[in-house]
């Protein structure tokens, strides 16, 4: 009996815990590729493979902000146009008809990225370019490109620093724009980018530590460039095993790509995250899995829930708004400033002096 009650309690706890696992109701993904030029093919392929996984696991295009700094599929140097391969021998094409790129080419700038994150966007921006998250959103942010200690290079001309990124996330936290945030970065010295985060509920993964370079996977001799970076290649292989119902947790993701395979040491940071990574499902961030509770009861909508509507007052007629006397007899504007008395006195004294000096005193009798 004890065992039964204990197991019931345990399962109740488990159920409760499972139910309270994550407080999110919607998922967003911001996937950024920051490099341009043909030889950075692998960064676009990285981003597109994460895009593919995220879409496959249920996040719709309306909740994905995909930023690609260059067009590899239609690049004139692409021997296989309209394709972006992530595996050599052209095994997996991560491009296709249903890839919706939101920020393309020169629109991928530090400013635009920060505006997307913080929501401080001009009113004319279309919805597809906005991160319309709320305080119940779990956001996945994936960035790839060329980076260094403390910065990530955008478009070969500008940089975003780890401080800026941390401040942007703090703005998001202050504005309640996320519930939990997973930040993955695949660049050289990627761990430096998450060093400065200070907002709660952020988990971060990076492909290499400070001082290490992230290396690319094998090149494809048919296309002529490296197709993927090692870290993302192995993450992609890992994600291919995930399906919407899988219970794989974050600890498994941390084990992806050990040093033997990746050459660099992947890092992660969970101190800001409130839940135990063991309890965080991969699908909490990569998929769009929601907690749905089915109920068969009917809930009556109580009239007491709505306050009494106040009686609307009669609107004032136009004529009654201003006193008639004021409207009809508009007085001319009073001149508020007057020249000082001393000035007037002095001026006229001078004028009279000049007059008499010129014309002599004998004219005095004409004046008076």
């Amino acid at each position: 009996l004890l065992f039964c009650s204990w197991s019931v309690l345990w399962s109740g706890d488990d159920q409760a815990e499972q139910f309270l696992r994550s407080g999110h109701t919607n998922n967003w993904a911001v996937l950024v590729c920051t490099s341009r030029f043909w030889f950075n093919y692998r960064h676009v392929a990285n981003t597109l493979s994460v895009y593919r996984s995220v879409k496959r696991l249920g996040i719709p295009d309306s909740h994905i902000v995909l930023m690609l700094a260059d067009d590899m599929a239609c690049n004139p140097r692409n021997p296989k146009p309209a394709t972006v391969f992530s595996h050599k021998n052209m095994e997996l094409n991560v491009y296709g008809d249903d890839v919706e790129v939101d920020y393309r080419s020169y629109e991928v700038t530090v400013e635009n990225f920060l505006r997307v994150l913080t929501g401080r966007i001009p009113p004319s921006t279309p919805r597809s370019k906005r991160l319309l998250s709320d305080d119940r959103s779990n956001i996945l942010i994936y960035m790839t490109g060329h980076g260094g200690n403390g910065f990530l290079k955008f478009q070969d001309s500008e940089e975003i620093t780890n401080v800026e990124l941390a401040d942007a996330f703090e703005q998001m936290w202050q504005k309640r724009r996320y519930n939990e945030l997973l930040f993955i970065i695949d660049t050289c010295q990627g761990a430096s980018m998450y060093e400065r985060f200070y907002s709660p509920n952020i988990m971060a993964l990076a492909s290499s530590q400070v001082g290490e370079d992230s290396l690319s996977h094998q090149p494809d001799l048919g296309i002529g460039v490296h197709l993927m970076d090692r870290y993302t290649f192995y993450v992609l292989e890992f994600l291919e095993e995930i399906h919407p119902a899988s219970q794989t947790n974050m600890n498994d993701l941390f084990q992806v790509c050990p040093k033997s395979l990746c050459v660099s040491t992947p890092g992660h940071r969970t101190d800001l995250f409130q839940r135990d990574p063991q309890n965080v499902l991969i699908t909490d961030f990569f998929g769009s899995v929601r907690k749905v509770e089915i109920t068969t009861e009917t809930l009556p909508l109580d009239r007491t829930w709505f306050p009494e509507e106040e009686l609307a007052t009669e609107p004032l007629k136009y004529a009654e708004q201003l006193p008639v006397a004021q409207i009809i007899h508009q007085k001319p504007k009073q001149k508020d400033w007057h020249p000082p008395g001393g000035f007037i006195l002095g001026l006229w004294a001078l004028i009279i002096m000049v007059f008499f000096k010129t014309y002599g005193i004998k004219h005095m009798k004409h004046v008076f």
Binding site: D336, P339, I344, L350, V354
Partner: protein, 415 residues
């Protein structure tokens, strides 16, 4: 000669009144050729409105008039149109009286020189007959009042008219020989727009000539008189500036008025030469070139004084022309003033070589100003270079005219 003058005055007043009532008044008031940042009526109204709100009118960069103008218009703002019409009439009357007296002097001198046989025999055409000289003052008044430039300037209510009137009274006082009044009016004119300072030299020369004091550097009476006149002028200037201080209890007006005239910060296109240069110039060089351009106005005084010391009135005319061409914010009102003096030397006209071309240049340019402005600003098919080219041509035309007259004067006197 009173009756024809009155007639001319009436005609002028009618033309102005008609234009005030028509729709052209607004159009003309906005033209950059007529209203410059220094003398636009809009700015006077703005300054007075700021004063009514309790703010110093010099606090923004809008109002660049002197405190005495504030005082004048504080009481007369409702009668602004009348004020400007009366100002124009006063200017014309002052010029009339001035030229009348001047002609008497010239006639006497001419008679003396004829009797002394100083003239060469073939100079008969240059000698003015009494008949011609009788009508010259009327022509001067006519030239001033009915000049389209003056009319436009009056309709736009540009305070250039007030400046012209003060200069006209200054010329009248100089010709009448009253050093005191001449100094006072010159101080007023300098106080309002800095450049009449250069008219000090011709006035001094005329007064010396009138007192029969020879212009020799060693002569004691020369220096005495010069010192007297200078001290009168400087004292009146100081008194006027101190009085202005008491109007608003601040020295704000000095950087706003004189600093503005000298440093040329506002580069709105006008008919002058400053705006284009300074719009294109790098900041590094602008101080140097501002100094160069400003010196250009004052620079010709001394050489002209040496050359034209026997003809101070002509010197005055040339100096006025130089001021109105090279000042920092010229308008057509300034041009109208010196054009009024042209009939005084009408006997030189037959010797002006390119008179036809020059007149055509000036008339064409006057018409092209609004055309090219429209093309540049509204149609967008021209650019600032077009407008600048026309200002260049216009000013070249003016300079050529002045130069021609001077050359003719010299060649006529030489014989």
């Amino acid at each position: 000669m009173a009756a024809p003058l009155v007639l001319v005055v009436l005609a002028a007043v009618t033309v102005r009144a008609a234009l005030y009532r028509s729709s052209l008044a607004v159009f003309i008031a906005e033209r950059v050729e007529v209203a410059s940042p220094l003398n636009a009526w809009k700015r006077v109204v703005e300054g007075l409105a700021l004063l009514d709100l309790g703010v110093s009118p010099y606090s923004g960069a809008i109002f660049h008039e002197t405190p005495l103008i504030i005082y004048l218009f504080h009481f007369l703002i409702e009668y602004a149109e009348l004020v400007f019409m009366i100002t124009d009439v006063l200017t014309a009357v002052a010029l009339y009286l001035a030229i009348q007296d001047f002609n008497k002097v010239v006639f006497k001198k001419q008679k003396l020189l004829i009797e002394l046989d100083k003239y060469a025999p073939d100079v008969a055409e240059l000698i003015q007959t009494p008949m011609e000289m009788h009508y010259i003052p009327l022509k001067v008044a006519l030239f001033y009042l009915l000049n389209p430039y003056t009319v436009m300037s009056c309709v736009a209510k540009s305070t250039c008219a007030i400046n012209n009137s003060v200069i006209a009274f200054f010329i009248l006082a100089t010709i009448k020989g009253s050093a005191f009044l001449s100094a006072v009016f010159l101080a007023l004119a300098t106080y309002q727009s800095l450049y009449p300072l250069t008219l000090f030299a011709p006035a001094l020369l005329y007064l010396l000539q009138r007192q029969f004091i020879p212009i020799k550097l060693k002569s004691k009476s020369f220096w005495l008189y010069t010192m007297q006149y200078t001290s009168l002028y400087l004292c009146s200037l100081v008194v006027i500036i101190c009085l202005s201080f008491f109007l608003l209890n601040s020295w704000d007006f000095i950087p706003s008025v004189y600093g503005f005239i000298l440093s040329v910060p506002d580069l709105t296109p006008n008919i002058g030469l400053f705006w284009y240069f300074f719009a294109e110039m790098f900041e590094h060089f602008s101080l140097f070139f501002v100094c160069v351009f400003q010196i250009n106005v004052f620079f010709y005084t001394i050489p002209l004084a040496i050359k034209l010391k026997e003809h101070p009135m002509f010197f005055m005319f040339v100096q006025l022309a130089i001021i109105s061409i090279f000042k920092s914010y010229p308008t057509v009102g300034d041009i109208a003033l010196y054009m009024a003096f042209l009939p005084v030397w009408s006997h030189l006209y037959r010797f002006l070589r390119n008179i036809f071309i020059l007149s055509c240049v000036l008339i064409f340019c006057s018409f092209l100003f609004p055309v090219l402005w429209h093309l540049w600003i509204y149609a967008g098919s021209a650019n600032s270079n077009f407008y600048y080219a026309i200002t260049l041509t216009f000013n070249i035309g003016q300079v050529s005219r002045v130069r021609q007259m001077k050359e003719n004067r010299d060649s006529a006197k030489r014989g």
